[in-house]
Amino acid sequence: MRKLALNDEILLKIEKPARYIGNEVNSVMKDKEKVDIRFAMCFPDVYEIGMSYLGIQILYDMFNKREDVWCERVYSPWTDLDKIMREQDIPLFALESQDAIKDFDFLGITLQYEMCYTNILQVLELAKIPLLAAERTQEHPLVIGGGPCSYNPEPIADFFDLFYMGEGEKVYDELFDLYKEYKNEGRSREDFLRRAASIPGIYVPSMYEVSYHEDGTLAAFTPRYEDVPAQVEKQVVMDLDHVTYPKAPVVPFIKATQDRVVLEIMRGCIRGCRFCQAGMIYRPTRQKDVESMKEYARAMLENTGYEEISLSSLSSSDYEQLPELVNYLIDLCSEKKVNISLPSLRIDAFSLDVMSKVQDVKKSSLTFAPEAGSQRMRDVINKGLTEEVILEGAGKAFEGGWNKVKLYFMLGLPTETEEDIKGIAHLSQKIAERYYEIPKTQRVGKCQITASTSFFVPKPFTPFQWAAMNTEEQFLEKAKTVKQEVRAQVNQKSIKYNYHEADVSVLEGLLARGDRRVAQTILAAYRNGALFDAWSETFRMDAWNQAITSTGTDMNFYVHRERDLNELFPWDFIKIGVTKDFLKREWENAKQGKVTSNCREKCSGCGAAKFGGGVCYEG
C-alpha cells in the first residue's frame, strides 16, 4: 500500500482528508523508476474545484497514455492544511505517488481565473520551489502555465518558466521529446528553455525583454535572441473528431463541484459577444461529431459510474446536432437511470420540451443571460438576445409550469447610461408581468425572478480591451440604482436582486490587464496574507490594498483609463488568430451600437479562418 505524505494525526485533524490521499477510481499509478518525465498537474484552488475542471482530465489522460510520462495531480491545500504544512515543514506532494513536487520534472499550473494567482505562489512555496523563475536552478521542476488567463501571462510571467498558449493536445509531445533530449544529454535549463521557445505556442518569458514609455505604457517587447520568435501562436486542434478525450476520467471520493460526466461537444462560439474573452480566444468554432459523442457518453458513464451527465460548450444551442444528441441521451439515461443536467440552453420550444422531460419543472429554474438591461446596451455588447425573445421564452415556460427565472446582467459596460442600468429592473418587471398574465387558476403561486449582476471587467483579446473599467464606487452606485429601481416596480415582491463583490472585480481588472510589473503587487499581496482570493470567506482586500500602496501600483493606469487605439498591449505578442484590426473594428461598432452577425450568418473576417477549418468553412 502507498505511504501517505501526511500522517493520520494530521489527516484526522483537517477538513476533508480525502482531498489529499489520491487513490480515486481511474487515477493512474505508474512505476516511477520506469518513466522519464514526472509531471505534476496543478489546479491552484481547493480539490473539489480543481477536480471539476475538464481540461486537467483531458491532459492527465493524454499525458499518461505516454509510457515515458507519469502525470499526477496536485491542488491547493486548504488553509487548515496550509498552516500545518508550514509549521511542520512538510513539502507539497502529488496525490498519486504522494511524492514531493520539488522532485518532479514539470509542475503544470492551469490558469482558469485571475483570483487564483496568490494560490500559485502558495503552491510554489509549499512545494519549496523558488517563487521567481529567475531564482530556479537545474534541480527545480520547470513551471509551466496554461489556460485562459495565460492569454495575458504578463502579470504572472515572473513566476513561470514557460507558458503554453492554446489547446494542450497540440504540442506537448514535442515539448516532452525535447525535454527528454535535454535531460539525457545533461544540458542546462537555460538551453532547454531557449530551444523550447521555438516550439509553436510555447512562450518563455525570460527570453523576452520589455521596455516602457515614460507614461508607463509598453514601448517594446522583444526577443533576447535571434532564434526566439517575436510572436507566439495560439495552438488549435482542427480535427476534433480524432483528438484524445478521456473515456475514464478520475472519479473523486468526495463530491466535487462538477460531480458528473462532462461531454465536450464543441469548442469556440459563433456569437461574438464583445465582452467575452472565451468567444474570441477559442475561435474558430468547431463541433464534435455526434456519433462519437454518443459513444463517449456511454463509455464514460460505464467507466465512472456517475449518476449524472452534462454537456460542455460555450453555447450548446449552437451545436447543430443538439436535438439528435439530446434525444439519444434521454434514451440512454432513462435506461441507465442517470440524470441529465442541461447546460444553459437558449429558451425555445425545443429546450423547454427537453427540460420538461429531464427535470422536475416545479423545482427547476430557467436561465437567461441578457447581460444588459436595454436593447441599446445589448446592441453595444453584441448580445443577440432581444426582449421579445426573452418574453416569448419566459411566456412559454410559464405556460409549461415553470415559475422560477434567473437573469444574468453586467454593470459597468462601455457607454452605459442610467436608463440602461434601470433597464435591468424594467426587464425583470416585464417578465413578472408576463407571468401574471396567465390566469390565476393555471399558475402555481408567485413567480420568482432572480436578477444578478456582475461587474464588467474589460479583458484582453476582446473588442472591449481598450475600454475603461469602472471604479468600486461607480459599481456600487450602479448596483444601488438597480436595487432602488427594482423596489419601485409593481411586482417587486417577485423580483430578487443580487450583485457580485465590487472590490474583487476591480482587482480582477488589474490582474487581467496588467503587465510584468504587476507581479510584484501579487507577490506583496501574498506576503501580506492574501490567499484563496476567489473565496469570499478568505478574501482579504486589506492585504491587496496594502500591496497596491507599498508597490506603488497605479490602479488608474492599469484599470480605470480608456486605452489609446495605438497602445501596444502586454499581450499583443500572442497571436490568437483573431486580429487586432478586427477587435478595433468591433470596438468602433460597439460605440456606434452596430450589431455584428454571428459566424454562421455571415463571416466578419475576424482572422480565425487562417486555421483552415471549423465554422469558417461550414457550407
Binding site: 482528508p17 490521499i21 487513490n23 477510481v25 463530491k255 467507466n303 465512472t304 422536475d360 423545482k363
Partner: protein
C-alpha cells in the same frame, strides 16, 4: 432480490466518510454493471441501506450494506464483478441473498460489533495494564460522562460491554452497537485509562471494526450471529 454485501475498508480509505462510501458504492455498482433497483421519480436513487456507519479514521473488515437487485446472479459473480471495481483498500468479502422485508434490514438487525483498539508505538497505557483488564471489567458499574442527542450525564456503560480482552498492544472488545445502545470503542478505551488513573495521549490508538452481529436471542440471553450468516450463497 435483496443481497447483503460484506466488505472491508482499510488503508487510505479509512479517511473517506460514510456518505462518500455510499456514493462510492453506488458508482462501483454501476461500473460493475449490476442490475440494481431504483426508486421512482426525476432523480431515481439506488435502493441500498448500510448496516452501521463507520467513523472517519476507523478501518474495518466487517462492513455491510443491503442492495436490491433485479434479476439474479451468483454470489461468486457478484463478488468478482464488484471487486474488479474496488479502489485500493476496499474489498468485497461476500455477497449473499437475504430475505426481503423490513425486519431483515441490515440496519434494523445490528446489535453488536467487534473492535480492536491498537495502541500506536509508545502510546499504550503505562505499566502492566494488560493485567488490569479483568478487574476493570469486573466492576459493577463503569460510569462515563456521555453526551447523546437527548441527554448528557453519567452513564453506566458496563452492560453494553460484551467482551473485553487484552492483546499485544491492543484491546479487543465486543460492544453493543446499533440504534438502541451504541457504544463506541473509544469511550471504553478512555474509561479504561481513567480506571488506570492515566490520561490517553492524543491519537494514541487505531480503531478497527472486525464484525457486525445481529442478535437472535431472547430474554434469556444474547445469541449473536454475523450479518453475513443470515444470508445464503447464491449458486
Amino acid at each position: 432480490m435483496k443481497v447483503r454485501v460484506k466488505f472491508s475498508k482499510e488503508g487510505a480509505m479509512k479517511f473517506i466518510g460514510h456518505l462518500d462510501i455510499m456514493r462510492y458504492f453506488q458508482k462501483a455498482i454501476r461500473r460493475a454493471g449490476l442490475n440494481a433497483a431504483f426508486s421512482e421519480g426525476f432523480s431515481p436513487h439506488m435502493l441500498m441501506s448500510f448496516a452501521a456507519p463507520l467513523g472517519v479514521g476507523i478501518t474495518s473488515t466487517g462492513e455491510y450494506f443491503d442492495l436490491e437487485l433485479n434479476g439474479s446472479m451468483s454470489s461468486a459473480e457478484l463478488t468478482d464483478r464488484l471487486n474488479a471495481q474496488m479502489a485500493e483498500g476496499m474489498h468485497v468479502i461476500s455477497v449473499r441473498k437475504v430475505p426481503d422485508g423490513k425486519a431483515s434490514k441490515a440496519m434494523a438487525l445490528v446489535a453488536a460489533a467487534d473492535y480492536t483498539v491498537t495502541f500506536y508505538e509508545g502510546k499504550a497505557p503505562a505499566g502492566e495494564w494488560e493485567k488490569q483488564v479483568e478487574a476493570f471489567l469486573n466492576q459493577e458499574q463503569i460510569l462515563v460522562w456521555r453526551k447523546t442527542k437527548r441527554s448528557e450525564g453519567e452513564k453506566d456503560i458496563r452492560p453494553w460491554i460484551y467482551k473485553l480482552e487484552a492483546a499485544e498492544n491492543a484491546l479487543i472488545m465486543q460492544l453493543s452497537t446499533g440504534s438502541v445502545h451504541n457504544l463506541k470503542p473509544e469511550l471504553v478505551a478512555e474509561a479504561f485509562y481513567k480506571y488506570l488513573g492515566q490520561e490517553p495521549q492524543p491519537f494514541a490508538w487505531q480503531v478497527h471494526r472486525g464484525e457486525i452481529y445481529a442478535d437472535l436471542g431472547d430474554e434469556n440471553g444474547r445469541k449473536l450471529v454475523t450479518l453475513e450468516s443470515l444470508g445464503e450463497i447464491i449458486e
